[in-house]
Symmetry: D2
Subunit: 368 residues, 4 copies
Amino acid sequence: MIVGIIGATGYAGAELIRLLALHPEVSGFALASVSFEGERIERLYPNLWGKVEAALVKPEEAVSQAQVVFAALPHGVGEPHAKACLDAGIPFIDLSADFRFDDDEATYTAWYGKPYAHKTLRSHSVYGLPELNRSRIKELAAAKKVIIGNPGCYPTGASLGAFPALAKGIAGPGTIIVDSASGITGGGRELSRAFHYPECADSIAPYKVGAHRHTPEIARNFAAMAARPVPVIFTPHLAPMNRGILSTIYIPLAASWRPKTASVGAPRPPTKEIEEKAAEIRRVYEDFYKDEPFVRVLPEGIIAASGRVRQSNFCDISIHLDQAGTTLVVVSAIDNMVKGAAGQAVQNMNIIFGFDETAGLKAIPALF
Amino acid sequence: MIVGIIGATGYAGAELIRLLALHPEVSGFALASVSFEGERIERLYPNLWGKVEAALVKPEEAVSQAQVVFAALPHGVGEPHAKACLDAGIPFIDLSADFRFDDDEATYTAWYGKPYAHKTLRSHSVYGLPELNRSRIKELAAAKKVIIGNPGCYPTGASLGAFPALAKGIAGPGTIIVDSASGITGGGRELSRAFHYPECADSIAPYKVGAHRHTPEIARNFAAMAARPVPVIFTPHLAPMNRGILSTIYIPLAASWRPKTASVGAPRPPTKEIEEKAAEIRRVYEDFYKDEPFVRVLPEGIIAASGRVRQSNFCDISIHLDQAGTTLVVVSAIDNMVKGAAGQAVQNMNIIFGFDETAGLKAIPALF
Amino acid sequence: MIVGIIGATGYAGAELIRLLALHPEVSGFALASVSFEGERIERLYPNLWGKVEAALVKPEEAVSQAQVVFAALPHGVGEPHAKACLDAGIPFIDLSADFRFDDDEATYTAWYGKPYAHKTLRSHSVYGLPELNRSRIKELAAAKKVIIGNPGCYPTGASLGAFPALAKGIAGPGTIIVDSASGITGGGRELSRAFHYPECADSIAPYKVGAHRHTPEIARNFAAMAARPVPVIFTPHLAPMNRGILSTIYIPLAASWRPKTASVGAPRPPTKEIEEKAAEIRRVYEDFYKDEPFVRVLPEGIIAASGRVRQSNFCDISIHLDQAGTTLVVVSAIDNMVKGAAGQAVQNMNIIFGFDETAGLKAIPALF
Amino acid sequence: MIVGIIGATGYAGAELIRLLALHPEVSGFALASVSFEGERIERLYPNLWGKVEAALVKPEEAVSQAQVVFAALPHGVGEPHAKACLDAGIPFIDLSADFRFDDDEATYTAWYGKPYAHKTLRSHSVYGLPELNRSRIKELAAAKKVIIGNPGCYPTGASLGAFPALAKGIAGPGTIIVDSASGITGGGRELSRAFHYPECADSIAPYKVGAHRHTPEIARNFAAMAARPVPVIFTPHLAPMNRGILSTIYIPLAASWRPKTASVGAPRPPTKEIEEKAAEIRRVYEDFYKDEPFVRVLPEGIIAASGRVRQSNFCDISIHLDQAGTTLVVVSAIDNMVKGAAGQAVQNMNIIFGFDETAGLKAIPALF
């Protein structure tokens, strides 16, 4: 199968190449770039030297050669390519935000500043979080008309961390706070002061506090799973590391899930009852994800860490309670470039084509 | 003035040496260590070579030579030295948790596993957060009997970030969440798997979720400032950097401080009203800290970052609101080894002796 | 095929697991550890969770179950296991230094402080650098008696960088200087002050200057390729990164290979003649390695960097001349844990069993 | 004293501000920038907030207000400012390469691509390496006409590491190899792919091999000290750290300094004779630098490391011999932004004005 990648020279594009070059069903690439058309990918990414060597072509050319097209483009420019693929019956997997909001154009426009170019495409598009929408993806694929809105990196980690609590009534009313830290590849390949080594190394800081575009995407996923609106506060941080997203998610416990012994006065270390409640919730999570190939619910005593899913498509989840027993604290970890972007896109491709869902994604996390 | 440091070979001890060696009122050191007695400090810390060279003596010897004693010891072992200093009329500045809880021995014991050795010492001790207790420090100093319980690193950043909101009624009822990330010097000099380079570099993870000893200290400070109990959830993270603590603090807004335009439905980007409310709160913070030499309330558009207080005694604070207008999000940044430990201890020494409070602490943060 | 790994809990052992778990010919593991016998590998390495789960057994047990045995043990303790495997006709791939010196026990003993335990094993052992000894490896494998002395990390990068110059008479008489920097995984899993994050992050330093055990191994390889003794100076550095070895190798040019225009007086930027001479040498290197699957000779304008072979079995080589035209400067880059240890061991296994030499080693380097 | 800084917004400019703000003789700044004229320095560098706050003025304005002028400009544009200062009798300390080559305009032009703008300025300029030219600096200062060509970062570390060997006949004939690694601040504030975090973190690589502009500067210093031409090869590397330069310098020993026991055959660990010879050379170094306030010759057993001079003006030097006894291996470490740039410039200012040479430069290196 020939895979087309539009926007192949950005980091998500390059990561797609790295993963798909080893995919058992992929025989070749058609790599496209507007900015670097005519240049060679292995000159831009010398790490590919001798493994993937190709001249960059125009997007149209890539579409015409491919059996599946990935787009790793800026927001708001890919719809024409999506339309062309839809018309040609070729699956289109879009890593931008353009197909993440379905019919809710108002929310998309409020955060991304543009209307949809082709509204009708949304009747063939689906938000590509397999753990949420696997059956819908298959349905569209069966109809030979499928556009994937591949999820944002932060929403992937946040959603997988909160889903069981939302689906099973563990989450009570009240705001869920998602506090996340991302590695610097999350900022992409474009040069920027924020990603200039001396200004981000050895330092951590939030950005776009109360104003990040992934907030509505997270809220949308939470609401879909809880079948009710869920207030969300989301704060992204930039951490001095290459890869990974670690989300610490604070979920108010439903009354029925709170430990019976109320905490009063000064905080005390967690009681046995609190640990047992955490264990009970952990079992709910394990059960919820028991058939998911890429979600690992960690046992008691192991806390999710971004470095332990490095280079893999896993989402690791660990379950905790605050010492007062009012709040579920879920920690989720993904590799932002894999499960948070290119890996999840490949997972979607696998689902669409009926391949083993883990094909090309079997890498074991490298501890270092 | 001769300064005694007990526990001089740990990281906090070494940082005290680095700062005090340039203090205009300090003429020499008496450095003590139980584990390394007889060895030379410049062999253990070759960065001191040619600047501070001394053999390590017994604690008792250091006490006998010094006009002020700092103790950078593990929790639960320093009280005899405190007593000796008190009896001798020498100020004792303790960087452990032993004097952070005043009369509340029950909380101390619950978290640190020991009773007080000498309860009565607490009538001469004070929690040494100058922004909270400056006048009490001076009072005890005037009486020539003063023990400082130097604050924990996380509680310093968390408390300074929340104090104005707590004091001025901006914080409403409800739990305050403190989500913090620390550099790895926070773990100290002792070898540990968690701090072995390949296992913490390029990764971020929380630890002791719902169970960190700084939780009661933070809650205590919040309650002191709010004059009411304040529920607190605190999650520390280990970030791949040498120094710094960044705290993102989620404070439910009191009804009177909420923007009037309620948010309903899917999240929208922050409105002008939200930004104005943030500006109003920022002014409260600026006013609250206007006489504090080490707290910088950052202007709109600049977000606190741990790397911008590096090697300094500053606490930087930036003020934000979530997009729905329900929650104040305060970001505070300190250098965990300076304002979070040794620098604050020096600040306490300056207050005790009536020196310029910034003496020895004038370093401008290094951006890198 | 069941693979036995003795010393499975060290970093090289863990990296073997990571690579071999995806090897097409490997069906299972027998993992052994003396220190952690009875514990579970996925508890020690939670990154393996859900992928490789096994209790650690005794070395003898692993040997009895396996069709091939890897030993990732300290130097000087593995010979009994090698003998057992030899007797049983099972290939033994040793990642320690015990089988790197063939008959030259004197050199081994001078640097490693021990005599050989079973001298006669050396008639069935070979230094497992495939680019040097591939045919001998096959020969021993054909005889069903084969012990591999898997090369040291530094010697691998240094040797591959210098081999064509030594074989083709480009290197003249005089000392070759190998100046290398390694990531901190090179120090292994054992805790040590040198690898405590705050003391190695954001800093670079050499260690064991003029005294590193890889010196005789490098010299031995150089001599083997040049068919004459070659004086070598080797300086290893510790660089603040997880993986990778970068070697900058200074090779005095044979008179016949020097640019004709002699340089006199103050240095001048490189001339066109110097660049042409470098290009000529680059062609010799390309030709020398044209059939090697894991050596990439980089084109003009691309300099080898450790980060561009990350997680792969490649050795990247770039060719340069000093501005005076007297010295060939070769830069080689490997991943110390892959081509420098576990990957090369797998490559040796592939050769022994007649598998595709790249089986299990096809990973494309991750740029980040 | 009012200090003028032209080019205040680059990293060297910012570091000058950080250091000079605490200098006891400095009362204020006149900060100039062409690119950012009219903007405020504390907005560009929020780490300065509340400590140094100023609008950026035109260079001419800064010159007119100042008693001393530092220029941290690109090469080839500062001479007019130097001339203006010279005419006004104001010391001009230039951090570019424009005044590092004295009369040797040919070498300057060959490497920097421009002729001198005002040749005659060189009769009042001096290469500002105090350890080489302190008396000449004082002479020019006494004449009230002084331009300092502040040394390059690499040449500072390389020169101080080699000077005693060159001056005392320890270095024999033959090429000296300087293999250096720099932190990424060495690349300055301007955005560049090479300094984009994901592409330089966790990786090390050389750059400009055989072609770096600091080569002629190093050669010039070596020749000045040895009073003969000294062939030099210099290779700079970029290491994943913020600050610091570590140079490993290979100096062929003069015959008279070689250990008597010749090494033959395979390398052996260093003998006692080799260690004694190293100790002898170490004593020569100690004696050579005994009056230098910023050079530390480290004792046996301590190897220079870039992280141990962090934030200080020290140059640390450690002395080693290769195991064969043919080559002196000197390791030198500086902070590239301090002794390698701004700190050395301040040191020059101190000499010019007759201040304590360590004024403003007393910082003790931070281990982390």
